[in-house]
């Protein structure tokens, strides 16, 4: 009966800790979600191309030793380079959240791709401007972009950030402008009115360049973002539900991804 639900692979590396929330969000959005430990993939007990969606969730993979997401990126490049490249090339949706975003960026899967030097990583996520880990709720606005995950999202997303290395920066100002011009900026930090935060703390919680909270690849099927929309998929997760406030959930983002996965794979 449920065979028509696209299957999401939730990648679990040592130190991944928001896998269960991601699985829940994808299930609510209409997917079948399976949490798959990295070593199970390595051992060939599961294969990436059997899934319609690839999710790299939040956490502290390998303790963030050598930098957030760095060693998970090395895992992806060392053990799964071809599989991931084929998955991305097939147009199936990929999402990296928080630590997953950091890993995708540092694996070279999310960058400004049109700069001539194709192998150079020219964007990164580094230590928050305030120099410390911070957990707080932020407002995200989807901006017009190539990203399929955020296409047609007209409502803002209200959800928490929880990171110490979430400041998005580019190698130089031109790279940031080029990224925007290429339609690869998908989500920005915003005020309650939906206007970009303009660099102001705490709306922009970490000092990210141009308020960038999430970017996509040129094809639009790979999205990375620092905040946690998977932590706002039910009414009682909203910090002010008891004040009667509701809405701006993260769920539509996941529903978009699942719908898109169904289109691409025909599941």
């Amino acid at each position: 009966m449920t065979t028509l639900r696209p299957r999401a692979l939730i990648l679990h590396a040592p130190g991944t800790n928001r896998d269960a929330e991601a699985a829940l969000a994808f299930r609510q959005a209409g997917a079948d979600a399976e949490i798959v430990p990295l070593n199970v993939l390595r051992a060939g007990q599961r294969r990436m191309h059997d899934y319609a969606i690839l999710v790299v969730p939040g956490g502290f993979s390998h303790a963030d030793a050598l930098g957030a997401g760095k060693l998970l990126a090395l895992d992806l490049r060392t053990y799964f380079a071809e599989e991931v490249a084929a998955f991305v090339a097939s147009g199936r949706p990929v999402i990296g959240i928080c630590n997953g975003f950091q890993a995708l960026v540092k694996a070279g899967l999310l960058r400004w791709a049109d700069n001539g030097a194709r192998d150079t990583i020219n964007v990164t996520l580094t230590f928050n401007a305030a120099g410390r880990f911070e957990c707080r709720w932020v407002t995200l606005a989807a901006v017009p972009s190539r990203c399929f995950w955020t296409a047609g999202l007209d409502e803002l997303i209200y959800c928490p950030v929880a990171h110490g290395e979430g400041r998005f920066i580019t190698k130089n100002p031109q790279a940031a402008e080029a990224l925007q011009a290429a339609g690869q900026v998908a989500l920005v930090y915003a005020g309650p009115d939906g206007q970009p935060a303009g660099g102001a703390y705490p709306e922009n919680p970490n000092g990210s360049t141009a308020d960038i909270a999430g970017i996509c690849n040129p094809a639009g099927n790979v999205l990375g973002l620092m905040p946690h929309p998977e932590d706002h998929v039910s009414r009682y997760q909203h910090p002010r539900w008891m004040r009667g406030e509701a809405g701006q959930m993260g769920l539509p983002l996941f529903e978009n991804g699942v719908r898109y996965a169904a289109q691409v794979t025909g599941w």
């Binding site: 070593n39 502290f60 390998h62 303790a63 020219n122 880990f133 957990c135 997760q237 008891m242």
Partner: protein
């Protein structure tokens, strides 16, 4: 020939490095104003004949981030840096590196990933830090900064200039076993052995050990002696709480408001003048008398357990990690979280929430001269402890959701770090009994010298040398390995792969294997234990408190399945022996027998301690004082809101991930601007069905403890329960945890105060029908400075409440919701100034009042009031609710205003405005109710002390009229005062 060592120096590429800015601020706070700027670099050392092209590849691909960081290779001696350090130089270099044997996850990962990239020539890796100090600094200033700020000598070395890295070694155990000739020693010599080996055993205990070995006809090995010392330590066996205590004949001086029949102390002591164990006589007796059918396990397991619903049970444990946090704040607090999480894993539960209650010295202290020798500045203790808790909980993915911070000069040398953990498990699935033939399996981290003699270390007072001598007692956590343990153990439980499980905590394998095999018996080979580095003697392997290890009793047939699980999650599994069925504990080093002890002696052979208590002086600390003539009530309220005990803790709360696991329904910060205080946290654990949730709250008040330990205990039980009820917890379903932190119980007044506090919390628990399910004590929180002066903590009792709420959608928060709503004051405020926060503002007139006054007493009517309030909450009639506690009515009202960004107009009758506004009390709450619900609410509260005292206003102004006085303050001033950071 020695291999070359390459060193990569990594710095921040653009702009200011936030870590450097924060260190610079700390240096200035420590009084080193000559430091004008500071640069920070990370150092990675690689040993091996590594080609330059491989070095560059490693640097670009994994070791540095080319977009955000600069990086450069140097020969490890550092070209020319020494020249910086001449006298009068404008730049100075200080480099640091971990001491040998200190856990260094990053170094391990460097070696691993070099091999992943195919750079096989990397033999070993190590890490360090480099600081470039700008400004003309003296040698003394540089040493001071190095010791106090840049390095902690307990775990790190430092050098002026390039530092030699310490590389981990490949491991092999030493075979050295010493025999301790005990049998012929006289009393003085026995005590000398206890002292030399830091065993913390008194004469009667040493004599019992001697007697056992005389009967055995041989002397103990060091392995045996150390095992007994750890097993019998205060930390492991709670000698004081099990001691036979002689009580004074005179009646205690505290004032009861309870009828005699409700006082557990009176019932059991009278006419006896002895108590046979505080734990058994009072705490357990209280739980037994309450006999709540929903308590699944109290005082027996690693954590207390209660029913959640038909499917799940919840476990809760709170531990302290005080001594380790005093000498290495980050590592001490870090492993404090790790330890209590393993307690919960030790009852086969999944950790779902963490709590932290912290007591520090005043943050303004910091100049070297103001501190006892060997004591870290409170500012550094605080930042290290908070970072350590955040690091562990955040990486583990366990939300830190409830806590408190208290500042008092009594905590300067002895900070307190209470770490709690809540677990969730399917009901009755925790296996508890090993079977003969089961394998003794160690899971998780490797064993090193970390934490040797930690149990006895934490059972002794500290002195100026403690940091140096006990360096080995400090551990550094590895939360990612612990995360792997959680994945493996919870799945192994589901698959039924073990018959018993426990954590390796104090006493290491000796305690874990000893306790698990205390009936069935066990035999292990210590040479099978995997080591971090070579040279550990058998007793060190057996006693090491290396973190992130669990011990399981695994039937032979399940070993391959468990191994497969471990492989999936990258956890090491080591089979070190078997449970035997002989009832004896045996350890071998290869073929050689190094430990052979009768379990009966090990676990029941400890002579009961005999202690004597005298009732402490109770009541006012000072002579009577007059109320000041013309108080500035508004100014006092702002000063209270600025006091670090009461001011916003948002900076700390936000450094913890309180959202992970997606179940935090009432967060630690609430209200219109997400910055108001919460009385309690409400969780809806992921994976549970229905609407039921967990409520977590706590109570702590050492200021009362200085004056009256009995009433302090009564008050903190009330505060914890009141906070939980205010958030919506069912008062009939609240379980309590007790954590006593006290001074040296050998002193009769200190012990008397402890007895009083135990009786107080038991009286209150009985009164509220809230059973204790777990408890822990940390005694000897004293510090003798090199001047010979004793620095003891104030008597401190933390009560943690674990409540249930049937429907999380009925949770209540403290923030005001809408103008026009009515405000009710519930309870009869006792208006006590004794021990009140008015006395902590540095204003002599008010300090005198707080010294002269009485502290709040048990509110006899409170249980009925809380039941009635809960009924009103269930009926949906309560929009906001906040307890009236430290700082009294005015502070409670201000906090509700701040949370809702709404005003309040209150009017209370008062003979004395100061008392009405700021007097402290038990049992009182301030409640917001819709005007149209007034009738229904009042019917629910019929017969209870409750009165309407005002309403919510749109005008963003707090206005309170109290008799002939009062105050008016605008929101901006309230928010600004309350947002003041400590120090």
């Amino acid at each position: 020939m020695a291999l070359p060592i390459h060193c990569l120096v990594i710095g921040a590429r653009n702009g200011v490095n936030p870590a450097a800015a924060s260190l610079l601020a700390d240096a200035h706070a420590l009084g080193v104003l000559a430091l004008t700027d500071l640069e920070c670099y990370t150092l990675y050392f690689l040993e091996g004949d590594i080609p330059g092209s491989d070095l560059d590849r490693l640097s670009v691909e994994v070791l540095s981030d080319p977009v955000a960081q600069t990086s450069a290779w140097r020969s490890h001696l550092g070209d020319g840096v020494a020249a910086f350090n001449n006298a009068g130089a404008q730049h100075h270099v200080i480099e640091t590196a971990p001491r040998p044997g200190v856990t260094d996850r990053v170094a391990e990962e460097i070696a691993r990933c070099a091999h992943m990239l195919g750079v096989a020539s990397v033999r070993r890796a190590a890490t360090g830090q480099r600081f470039v100090l700008h400004g003309v600094l003296t040698d003394a200033e540089r040493h001071f900064l190095a010791r106090r700020l840049l390095a902690n000598p307990v775990i790190q070395r430092y050098a002026f200039g390039p530092i030699e890295p310490s590389f981990p070694e490949v491991s092999q155990a030493s075979a050295l076993v010493e025999v301790i000739a005990l049998r012929e020693l006289d009393d003085a010599e026995l005590l000398a052995v206890s002292r030399e080996r830091r065993a913390a055993l008194d004469l009667a205990e040493m004599q019992a050990v001697q007697q056992y070995f005389r009967e055995a006809g041989r002397d103990p090995t060091d392995v045996e002696f150390e095992t007994i010392a750890q097993t019998w330590s205060e930390h492991c066996v709670h000698k004081t709480f099990k001691a036979r205590i002689t009580l004074p004949r005179n009646r205690p001086a505290w004032h009861h408001s309870l009828a005699t029949k409700d006082r557990v102390g009176e019932q059991i002591d009278k006419p006896a003048s002895e108590v046979d164990g505080l734990l058994r006589t009072y705490l357990r007796a209280t739980t037994d008398r309450i006999a709540a059918p929903w308590v699944r396990s109290a005082f027996v397991d690693n954590a207390g357990i209660v029913d959640f619903d038909d499917e799940f049970e919840i476990s809760f444990k709170v531990e302290t990690h005080n001594h380790p946090s005093a000498i290495e704040p980050f590592g001490g607090a870090n492993t404090g979280v790790g330890g209590v999480v393993r307690d919960v894993l030790g009852v086969s539960a999944k950790p779902i929430a963490a709590t932290d209650v912290l007591c520090f010295g005043p943050q303004a202290l910091g100049m070297d001269t103001a501190l006892p020798e060997g004591v870290l500045p409170p500012r550094r203790v605080r930042s290290g402890v908070v970072a350590g808790i955040g690091d562990y909980g955040n990486k583990l993915g366990v939300p830190t959701v409830n806590g408190a911070i208290w500042y008092d000069s009594g905590y300067t040398a002895n900070p307190l770090v209470f770490c709690g953990c809540v677990g969730l498990a399917p009901k009755n699935r925790h296996p508890r009994q090993p079977i003969a033939g089961d394998h003794v399996v160690v899971l998780g981290g490797r064993t090193g010298r970390d934490g040797l003699r930690g149990a006895t270390f934490s059972s002794m007072p500290m002195d100026a040398q403690t940091g140096e001598v006990a360096g080995a007692s400090v551990q550094i956590g590895d939360p990612i390995t612990e995360k792997g343990l959680i994945e493996v153990v919870t799945r192994a439980r589901e698959a039924g792969l073990y018959h018993a499980v426990t954590d390796c905590g104090a006493g290491g394998l000796s305690s874990a294997v000893g306790e698990m095999g205390s009936q069935v018996g066990a035999e292990v080979d210590v040479t099978r234990v995997r080591l971090k580095y070579p040279g550990l003697a058998p007793w060190e392997i057996w006693l090491s408190e290396a973190q992130e290890r669990m011990v399981l009793a695994v039937p032979e047939a399940a070993l391959p399945k468990l191994q497969a699980l471990c492989d999936t999650f990258g956890i090491e599994q080591t089979d070190i022996g078997q449970f035997t069925g002989t009832g004896r504990l045996l350890a071998r080093a290869g073929e050689r027998l190094i430990l052979d002890l009768d379990n009966e002696f090990l676990h029941n052979g400890l002579p009961q301690r005999r202690l004597t208590a005298v009732w402490p002086a109770v009541g006012p600390l000072g002579p009577g004082a007059d109320l000041p003539a013309m108080p500035d009530y508004a100014g006092l309220l702002l000063a209270l809101l600025r006091h670090p005990n009461l001011a916003s803790k948002a900076d700390v709360i936000r450094s913890y991930d309180h959202e992970v696991q997606g179940g935090t329904v009432v967060k630690p910060l609430t209200g219109a601007a997400n910055d108001g205080p919460a009385d309690a946290c409400v969780l809806k654990p992921m994976g549970t069905g229905g609407t039921r949730g967990i409520v977590l709250a706590n109570g702590l008040n050492p200021e009362y403890g200085k004056r009256d330990a009995y009433r302090m205990a009564v008050s903190v039980v009330d505060e914890a329960i009141r906070n939980a009820v205010a958030a919506g917890a069912d008062p009939a379903r609240i379980a309590l945890l007790d954590n006593f932190c006290w001074g040296d119980p050998q002193r009769p007044e200190t012990l008397g105060a402890l007895v009083a506090a135990v009786r107080g919390c038991c009286d209150a628990a009985l009164h509220y029908g809230a059973p204790f399910i777990s408890g822990k004590d940390s005694l000897n929180n004293e510090y003798t400075g090199s001047d010979g002066r004793r620095h003891a903590i104030p008597p401190t009792l933390l009560i943690s409440a674990l409540g249930l709420i049937d429907d999380v959608s009925q949770s209540v928060t403290t923030d005001l919701k809408a103008p026009g709503d009515l405000l009710y004051l519930l309870g009869e405020p006792q208006g006590r100034l004794g021990g009140g926060h008015l006395g902590l503002l540095g204003m002599p007139a008010y300090t005198a009042l707080a010294e002269a006054g009485e502290v709040p007493d048990l509110a006899e009517w409170a249980p009925g009031l809380y039941r009635a309030l809960h009924g009103a909450i269930r009926a949906g009639l309560v929009r906001a609710c906040h307890d009236v506690s430290e700082g009294g009515l005015a502070v409670a009202a201000a906090e509700m205003c701040i949370g809702g960004r709404l005003g309040m107009a209150l009017s209370v009758e008062a003979a004395e405005p100061l008392v009405a506004l700021f007097g402290e009390t038990n049992g009182a709450l301030l409640v917001e109710v819709r005007a149209e619900d007034a009738g229904a609410f009042e019917r629910h509260l019929a017969g209870q002390p409750a009165r309407r005292i005002g309403h919510v206003t749109a005008g963003s102004q707090l206005a309170i009229r109290a008799g002939g006085g009062g105050l008016q303050l605008p929101m901006a001033e309230l928010v600004s005062a309350w947002s003041t950071l400590p120090g």
